[in-house]
């Protein structure tokens, strides 16, 4: 598959402070990649280098084969960027700003109105089209930030915290919008909201202290990097007795009672406990209401990785 983004040995210093250290990754065309990391991990710095806002201290970043620094103009032609804090000219109306952005991004004159209508419709900005940016709510400002990034159909979209500050219904809308971009656009998405990343992204890159600590599909990360395997059980039986019996099964490391006959059983990674647990419940003549394997959430994987790194 064609490579859209190529980052090699990327390093960035802010004075003596090392923000990004020898970062290497690639993003294929059409992929949606999530960028995860704690605050100050170097996510925004990396995205700003890709967007041509910052120069790297060492290494290279390429978009569509063009170097983001030495061939910045050509690289920026393929780019739609939504910064973390969307700052837009307060004295312009939504329509005036989009017109400016369309022209600045090189949308052809005859396509201009059609292109603006497209992004206005896609981001649900019809009702505020002639409103001053200064009077927009946070949600509409985020949408306006996303709509300007979509202008001129860029092959690469860089979205830095696109759903921050939105209400739940707006978050769902924006996520759907991003999901709809899959295939036609390559998307690099930075977010703090881990379920969002696992829902939206084909691949997740976790960075901590300026370095990549993991890069894989969200489900693979959960499988490979979760600490052990877990089974969730709902058993109709005497609570204390059930817990003790589950604990006695060989290979079980920990049993957690979740209340109302729910138990969480943890074992070593790769150990399949479900048949054994089912047999135990049936043999004791208790009612087995539910039995399912429970994957580690991305949040848990993320915390494990970051904590491991720090220790």
């Amino acid at each position: 598959m064609e490579t859209m983004v190529e980052v090699q040995d990327l390093t960035k210093y802010y004075g003596p402070h090392l923000a990004v250290s020898r970062l290497d990754f690639e993003v294929a065309a059409g992929e949606i990649v999530g960028f995860l990391g704690p605050n100050g991990a170097g996510k925004t710095t990396t995205l700003k280098i890709l967007a041509g806002v910052l120069a790297p201290s060492a290494g290279t970043a390429r978009i569509n084969g063009y170097d983001c620094f030495t061939e910045s103009l050509a690289a920026r032609r393929s780019l739609g960027y939504m910064p973390e804090n969307v700052a837009i000219y307060r004295d312009l109306t939504v329509a005036q700003f989009l017109q400016f952005a369309a022209r600045a991004k090189g949308v052809e004159s005859i396509e201009e109105n059609r292109e603006i209508d497209r992004v206005v419709a896609a981001c649900g900005l019809e009702e505020v089209r002639h409103t001053l940016v200064a009077a927009l709510s946070k949600g509409f400002r985020q949408r306006l930030g996303l709509s300007q990034a979509l202008l001129n159909q860029p092959s690469l979209l860089i979205l830095d915290e696109p759903t921050i500050g939105l209400d739940p219904s707006q978050i769902v809308e924006i996520r759907q919008l991003i999901k709809d971009l899959e295939g036609d656009h390559t998307v690099i998405l930075s977010s703090h909201i881990l379920p969002e990343v696992s829902q939206l992204c084909d691949r997740v890159i976790i960075i901590n202290r300026g370095q990549i600590v993991a890069s894989d599909r969200p489900e693979n990360l959960s499988r490979q990097l979760g600490q052990g395997s877990r089974v969730h059980l709902t058993v109709d039986g005497p609570g204390g007795e059930v817990e003790a019996a589950l604990q006695a099964v060989s290979g079980v490391n920990r049993v957690q009672s979740l209340g109302e006959n729910n138990f969480l059983v943890e074992a070593d990674r790769g150990r399949e406990l479900r048949p054994e647990l089912a047999r135990l419940v049936v043999a004791r003549d208790w009612e087995l209401l539910e039995l399912k394997s429970q994957e580690f959430t991305l949040e848990e994987v993320f915390l494990n990785l970051v904590t491991e790194e720090e220790s």
């Binding site: 967007a51 806002v53 700052a87 022209r103 991004k105 090189g106 300007q148």
Partner: protein, 262 residues
């Protein structure tokens, strides 16, 4: 072609912002008030001298002074030049400082626009604003031309001087705006530098010497004075155009350095 469209987009955006904010209307009002006041007092003075000349028709000294270009427009151009020192910082202080303060610069510089397109677009928009204000003052010449004979070529040279002086002041103001995130600081720096370039030639009064000549050559006032007299000298044209280019170039270097310093 795409950079021309980008430049035009920046010009239109800046003009929309100028017309949407009170700064244009307030500075325009006071500029025209002051220019109008000085034009009125100059005409009044010219009237008095004309009246005296009519009474003493035989006095050739008074008759020689009765040149409307020298008595009305030359002092008017001189005073507009000084008004510019105060006016220009208000027009330019917002241009780049506000982009940096509000964070819009981050988005602007991710668009496929060259730094030149952004800088020249902002400069051109400020120049258009200034030319609009200047255009109002041409009504003085038109009205005056209807009631007396006017040396239009000399008045035209004066306006050419004003356009070039305005361009030079605006380019310096834009550079000052690129240095800081604070509009007030940008305005103060622009005013101080403009004042410096206005009076720098005064050093020559202290005595002759190479340094004095260099300072005199650098003085905006010295070059502008020729235009107010109705004289168009190539040296003055070259000076003004070089001044504009130099400060736009410095602004470009200043913008380029943001990628490294951030």
């Amino acid at each position: 072609m795409s950079q021309f469209r980008g430049w035009l987009a920046v010009v239109r955006k800046e003009l929309t912002v100028y017309f949407a904010t009170p700064i244009f209307y307030i500075t325009g009002f006071f500029f025209l008030l002051l220019a109008g006041y000085f034009f009125y007092t100059n005409v009044l003075y010219y009237n008095i001298i004309s009246f005296q000349a009519a009474q003493q028709a035989a006095n050739p000294q008074i008759a020689a002074q009765l040149n409307p270009q020298q008595m009305v427009f030359r002092p008017l151009f001189a005073v507009i030049g000084i008004i510019l020192l105060f006016l220009v910082p208000f027009i330019t202080m917002r241009l780049l400082a506000e982009e940096k303060r509000s964070g819009t610069a981050e988005l602007l510089f991710t668009y496929p626009l060259t730094d030149w397109a952004v800088i020249s677009g902002k400069f051109s928009a400020a120049l258009v604003i200034y030319l609009i204000l200047l255009a109002f003052t041409t009504s003085y010449a038109v009205v005056f031309g209807l009631i007396t004979r006017l040396d239009w070529a000399a008045v035209g040279a004066g306006y050419l001087g004003l356009v070039l002086l305005g361009g030079a002041c605006l380019s310096l103001g834009l550079f000052a705006s690129s240095l800081t995130e604070n509009q007030i600081v940008a305005g103060v720096v622009a005013f101080a530098l403009l004042l410096l370039f206005w009076i720098i030639g005064w050093v020559q009064e202290l005595g002759p010497g190479v340094l004095g000549s260099v300072f005199k050559y650098l003085s905006l006032l010295d070059h502008y004075e020729n235009f107010t007299k109705g004289v168009i000298d190539t040296r003055d044209l070259v000076y003004c155009v070089s001044f504009i280019y130099f400060f736009l170039f410095l602004t470009k270097r200043q913008l380029e350095s943001r990628r490294w310093r951030a």
